[in-house]
């Protein structure tokens, strides 16, 4: 039925178009359009230009300030995000002004200088002064924008503060895992050749620092503390994108990248602020990576630092959850490994299995 309607509609539209076409051709011939220099409906076009201008500007303002803006501006939840948003809106103000101003000139002139038999266009091939002015003004405005942007960029991409928490972010088709450094505060080495069904991140247990590392499939962050994300990918390029934190960095196989920032609002804070008790921060994959690119997400949980620390302490090291990997630890390190991963009092936990079964 639906198909039939479409077919009928298409046929009808074609018929109407063809009729319009025939009629206008005949009218055109009758009016002697072919001989006159200017189309008979020149004036109509000029009017339409103005109409378009007015409706367009109205639509622009309505859509931008008519109360819909709340739905497309994500609340900011990071320190640098406040700065980038500030300059984003400055840039928006400048460009919106130029946008409206130039479109008014464009369509306004089109209307005002529409063809008139009794007028001659003015021969006005150039004016050096004008041209210098409108080269210089954009140059100056852009310079201001660039320099401010550059300063922020330097802060964002500069070295992370000493006290930043290091967390490894690992992207794969199609999900994310996060590795925390454990008690020693240091992430251990990895080796992509060590990846297997259990050791999804390829943790290299030859390195002592890795013995107490633990893995989570949600990203826990402390509020008000800098965090340094060390980013890798398993298979193709992904992108760690966190719209609320105004943070993004690609995850590239073979080329570790990093990004640091400071979350300023806990998940609970955001729930209060947005009035949405279900609110969750989301980590979004933002580089085309295959079939389920559009479903590649992770939940981010920001907690007060105390709660974060408690959570952190409660996590079991990878080695503790998977004692069979002890065999990969060099003999001289085995004893230390058992201690730092708290493997000795582990018998009960073993049967529970590992927390990453969702892989």
């Amino acid at each position: 039925m639906f198909e039939l309607i479409i077919v009928v509609a298409v046929v009808l539209i074609i018929a109407i178009v063809y009729t319009i076409f025939r009629v206008t051709t005949l009218i055109g011939i009758a009016k002697g359009d072919s001989t006159s220099k200017v189309p008979s409906n020149n004036k109509t076009q000029a009017m339409l230009m103005v109409l378009f201008l007015v409706l367009g500007i109205f639509g622009f303002f309505y859509y931008s300030f008519g109360g819909l803006e709340d739905s497309f501006i994500q609340p900011i939840a990071s320190k640098h995000g406040v700065k980038t948003d500030f300059w984003f809106w400055i840039t928006m103000a400048v460009t919106s002004f130029v946008f409206i101003f130039t479109q008014i000139l464009l369509f306004g002139f089109s209307y005002k200088y529409q063809y008139d038999e009794n007028r001659k266009a003015s021969f006005y091939p150039h004016n050096n002064k004008l041209e210098i002015i409108w080269t210089a003004i954009p140059a100056v405005v852009l310079a201001i924008l660039v320099i401010s942007g550059w300063k922020i960029w330097q802060d964002i991409t500069g070295p992370a503060p000493e006290d930043a928490y290091e967390i490894e972010v690992f992207g794969y088709q199609y999900g994310w895992s996060f590795r925390y450094p454990g008690r020693d505060g240091k992430l251990g080495d990895y080796d992509y050749k060590k990846i297997d069904d259990t050791n999804q991140l390829g943790i290299d247990l030859k390195d002592r620092a890795s013995h107490d590392d633990f893995v989570s499939n949600q990203l826990y962050l402390p509020k008000g503390k800098p965090v340094l994300l060390k980013i890798r990918a398993r298979d193709v390029i992904h992108s760690v994108y966190m719209p609320h934190f105004r943070a993004q960095m690609n995850a590239v196989p073979g080329l570790p990248t990093k990004f640091w920032f400071e979350p300023t609002k806990s998940t609970d804070d955001m729930r209060t602020e947005t009035g949405n008790p279900e609110f969750k921060y989301e980590l979004v994959c933002n580089k085309i990576c295959g079939r389920s690119h559009f479903g590649m997400k992770a939940i981010i949980i920001v907690e007060e630092e105390e709660d974060f620390k408690t959570w952190f302490k409660d996590q079991d090291a990878f080695l503790k959850l998977n004692p069979e990997y002890l065999s990969q630890v060099p003999d001289d390190l085995k004893e230390v490994a058992i201690i730092s991963s708290e493997l000795e009092n582990n018998e009960i936990n073993q049967s529970v299995g590992n927390t990453n079964s969702s892989f």
């Binding site: 319009i20 339409l48 266009a121 150039h126 942007g149 390029i237």
Partner: protein, 624 residues
């Protein structure tokens, strides 16, 4: 008739000035293996139009998915077959193939080959006063390379594993590993083969355009008298010549990695349950090489459209283009700068932040010449006497898009702001306005404007008007809202947005955009009808329907091989003597000697007029 015969005959025609009627050519040499630049231009145009329909059609399919998630699309099964599953949804991998093919087709096949191929070919010889391109044979080869490339890309659409699906930028490792996505199998191979032929076609064409502009200008046609169209085509060809070979290099390394086990772009990858042996390559290397072409490419797409617009706006404002020299200067500046801004596509790729800073500065410099161009167009309208032909409307539309889309470049070029905008719909909105729609409008403007010279008939104006307004409003309705969801962070190349709380509120907006897209696409059929109908049944065109100054309008209604039946006209002035003070007429074509217009000459022209040597045959064409 063999090709050499044709060339021989052509040469005869060149030498014999009074040789008016050509021998009847066979169908094949006239319409298929033609070496006449005008016919080749039409071949590019018609192939380009076919690609535009396909490329646009693909976008409608994926807009259906975005605008009406979960709708039953079983009725598309006759076209898409297995790509529609039992519930009537599009396969997510095929969705990616659709966006990839849409991007590739639009950027390369429609807006590069369809635009430059058509108008550089058609206008360069006609506007500089040459009988044909420097090498008609190479020109023919250029089209047939393009045809071959098109055929291969088209075939790839029908592979069982689908066409390439890694995005039009085909970043590795995704484009290398068929374990990662099916489209990186046979589809990607055909993509690469097709692009190699495409690049060969572009280079053959480009060398020809450059050689023709440098060597074959008619007497008096100095560079400072060239119409801006020709300047734009010339600069475009130079950019293409310098940047496309780099894409060949990038593609070649990709081929090695795909087929011969090298590790240019691959390192430390675990996929399909095993660790690949490749170590030491860098996916970022590919991005550098790609964007070294990719950024200049966006100017390869827009400059011809801007050139066309310059010509049309001047003609229909009945005024000289404002700031002729500034226009050339800004094009040269853009051409130069376009080679040193590429890494602004890579701010968050893991690029060294210091490089990011450098590229941010260079990128924002390129906005200045772009702004100058926009102001110059607007000033050309100021105190003009504007005739709204459909071509003029499309040109004004182009300027509007160029401004709207260019302004968002200022956000993106600022690396600190780009962190949050990269790969979102904000970027999609940016480049569809500034590049996609603006260049498409340039193409349309060019077709409406030069159709009378191409086919000797007029297109229907009223239909042109309706086509313009539907398309113009439609484009804004489709692309403007995308800024808003982009600001919200909605990622591009997403099959659906329902998985994320942050984006799930945009359902209505997406439906609206999809409906606008369908209406806009449908409006293009008006154009198609008008175009093909007018070729056969349009009103016969006068020689110079728009009262324009450039040389192509001095040719007969249907210029034959060699363009001018008589001698080639000599040029005595620039192309923009519109509404010159003192002159009765509101235009003085380029071939009218200054000595014939004493009433409107400026003092320095009066000097020139004295030394002017007027060739005897000048004006011979007028007798025809």
């Amino acid at each position: 008739m063999s090709i050499t015969d044709i060339q021989l005959e052509e040469n005869l025609a060149h030498h014999d000035d009074h040789h008016d009627d050509h021998h009847e050519q066979s169908f094949i040499s006239k319409y298929i293996f033609s070496t006449d630049h005008k016919m080749i231009a039409k071949q590019f145009l018609i192939t380009g139009i076919m690609w535009a329909v396909i490329g646009g059609g693909l976008s409608i399919i994926f807009r259906l998915q975005l605008g009406f998630p979960g709708a039953d699309l079983s009725w598309l099964k006759p076209i898409l077959g297995e790509w529609i599953d039992a519930e009537g949804s599009i396969d997510p991998e095929f969705y990616l193939a659709l966006v990839t093919m849409h991007g590739t087709i639009m950027v390369f096949f429609v807006l590069t080959a369809g635009l430059s191929g058509t108008f550089s070919n058609f206008l360069i010889p006609l506007q500089i006063g040459a009988r044909d391109m420097a090498s008609g044979f190479m020109n023919m080869l250029s089209y047939w390379m393009f045809f071959l490339s098109s055929a291969i890309m088209f075939i790839s659409l029908f592979l069982e594993t689908g066409p390439a699906a890694g995005g039009w930028t085909v970043y590795p490792p995704l484009s290398i590993l068929s374990d990662a996505i099916q489209g990186s199998g046979g589809g990607m191979t055909l993509w690469l083969v097709s692009m190699v032929f495409f690049i060969a076609s572009t280079l053959l064409g480009g060398i020809n355009y450059i050689a023709t502009v440098i060597n074959m200008r008619t007497k008096g046609m100095s560079f400072s008298r060239l119409p801006l169209t020709v300047w734009a085509f010339f600069i475009t060809a130079v950019i293409g010549l310098l940047s496309f070979p780099v894409l060949v290099a990038a593609a070649l390394l990709l081929v090695f990695d795909r087929s011969f086990g090298t590790s240019f772009y691959l390192s430390e990858i675990f996929i399909g349950g095993e660790a690949l042996p490749n170590i030491g390559g860098s996916p970022i290397l590919y991005q550098h090489l790609f964007w070294f072409l990719g950024h200049p490419e966006v100017y390869i797409v827009i400059l011809p459209a801007l050139g066309i617009t310059s010509e049309i706006i001047a003609t229909n404002s009945r005024k000289p283009i404002f700031g002729y020299r500034a226009m050339i200067g800004s094009m040269l500046a853009i051409a130069f700068l376009s080679f040193i801004v590429w890494a602004h596509h890579m701010f968050v790729s893991g690029l060294n932040p210091f490089l990011g800073s450098i590229f941010m500065f260079l990128t924002l410099i390129i906005a200045v010449p772009s702004a100058v161009k926009a102001f110059n167009y607007i000033t050309t309208l100021w105190r003009g006497n504007i005739v709204f032909t459909p071509a003029m409307l499309f040109s004004i539309g182009l300027v509007s898009f160029f401004i709207s889309g260019g302004l968002t470049g200022i956000f993106l070029g600022n690396s600190a702001l780009d962190i949050n905008l990269h790969d979102t719909y904000f970027v999609v909105a940016h480049f569809h306005l500034v590049m996609g729609s603006a260049s498409f409008f340039g193409l349309m403007a060019g077709v409406y404007h030069w159709f009378p010279k191409m086919f000797g008939r007029m297109m229907d104006k009223t239909m042109g008007y309706i086509h313009f307004w539907l398309t113009f409003v439609g484009v804004y309705l489709v692309f403007f809202p995308l800024h808003y969801i982009g600001i919200a962070g909605f990622p591009r190349r997403y099959y659906a947005f329902t998985n994320f709380d942050a984006f799930s509120t945009f359902g209505d907006l997406n439906t609206f955009v999809s409906i606008a897209a369908i209406v806009t696409f449908a409006a293009q059929f008006l154009f198609l009808f008008n175009f093909f109908n007018s070729i056969f049944r349009g009103r016969k065109a006068p020689e110079n329907p728009w009262n324009s100054n450039t040389l192509e309008w001095t040719t007969p209604r249907n210029p034959g091989h060699g363009n001018w039946p008589g001698p080639i006209p000599t040029v005595y002035r620039w192309a923009y003597d519109y509404s010159k003070p003192g002159s009765d007429s509101d235009f003085i074509p380029q071939h009218i000697p200054l000595s014939q217009t004493p009433e409107s000459n400026f003092p320095h022209e009066e000097e020139l007029a004295k030394s002017e040597v007027i060739s005897e045959d000048n004006g011979a064409h007028e007798s025809h």
